[in-house]
């Protein structure tokens, strides 16, 4: 075969491979949701982050408005310190609150942010004070047993 024809076929071959790779990255993978846009970081402290992982979504009203960045342990307050990378387009008031929620019954955990009523918005590096930790199954069971026991005692009195 002539050298030029071979080069054309080889070029097509490599192009096909690149196209497959891009298909896998965008259509099958999560590349399209990786935000390369501008973000600003805020932090929040939690008593228990449960199963929260980095890159978990931060959602408000169910829409993804940011991602969880770093998770670290603060040994002065003995709480978990979570850094959130929020998309710059979405501004939240300074007294917004954070909750750790679970997607579905057995799904991944994510952070839900609820807007407060303050005039001033969160800026880079701010700390969100109102946080609610993840629900731990054992505590729920203890609560349930305790309330059942209290009911039983009231009934017998």
């Amino acid at each position: 075969m002539h050298r030029k024809t071979i080069d054309v076929w080889v070029g097509l071959f490599v192009l096909l491979g690149l196209a497959s790779l891009l298909f896998l990255a965008f259509q099958a993978g999560n590349m399209s949701t990786l935000s390369f846009g501008q973000t600003y970081s805020v932090t929040g402290r939690f008593d228990n982050i449960g199963g929260l992982k980095p890159q978990a979504p931060v959602k408000s009203a169910g829409v993804v408005v940011g991602r969880v960045g770093d998770i670290s342990f603060d040994d002065k307050s003995f709480q978990a310190s979570v850094r959130l990378d929020m998309v710059t387009d979405y501004k939240f008031p300074k007294d917004s609150s954070l909750k750790i929620l679970t997607a579905g019954l057995l799904g991944e955990q994510y952070i839900g942010i609820e807007a407060g009523g303050d005039d001033k918005n969160l800026a880079e590096g701010d700390r969100i004070v109102r946080t609610q930790s993840a629900t731990v199954l054992e505590d729920l069971i203890n609560q349930f047993i305790y309330s059942k026991a209290a009911e039983g005692k009231e009934g017998s009195e």
Partner: protein, 260 residues
Amino acid sequence: MIARFFGYIGCSVREGLAGLGFAIRNFFILMRLSPGAFRRPGLISEQIHFIGNYSLLIIAVSGLFVGMVLALQGYYTLNQYGAEQMLGQVVALALVRELGPVVTALLFAGRAGTSLTAQIGLMKAGEQLSAMEMMAINPIQRVLAPRFWAGVIAMPVLAAVFSAVGVLGGYLVGVKLIGVDEGSFWSQMQAGVDVRADVLNGVIKSFIFGIAVTFTALFQGYHAQPTPEDVSRATTRTVVIASLLVWGLNFVMTALMFNK
């Protein structure tokens, strides 16, 4: 008699080690002579054509069928737990992480590896390599190195095509044939397949497999005895050794890459 038994074991171990060292030394010689091969990219692209383009059909068809079978088997099991929406994620992760690189490497060893070994072995049997040495052309640089780099380039491409066609095959069977919800098929897949952790690791795996399989094929061909019987035995050795290498390397890489 027991002494002879131990002597036999010691001899085999020593010969095995010597063989391994010999192979590694040849690998470094190949690396050293590669820049000369890069100065003639026409040779490399010609080899990519023979190794890659001609393997495309079997890789694509295999990928399609693997994806379709994954979708069928995955659906039967997931349906028992009411989790059939996860079918997309199961098919994509299985392909991208493991089946794409490994099955492509095995097919590549069988198709391209044997043809490389036979080609080089016949060149040696026909004294073409000696003739090249007489003309002061280094046969490793002229013949082996372009084929090596062609194989290393072609393998990741073929693995990507395998995985992509497999995902499409899974889509055809899962969504079109069985009736899994199309939206959740793709969205669960996108939620579960991470570009860095999964797709990139699969590409790295296929790259390493390309090096291992292509080098094995070239080495066996180059060091075969210049007789037709030994050339055919060398092609068998290529497939066996390359397959074992692929499985061993895959286990090591999976253990390294996919531990949370």
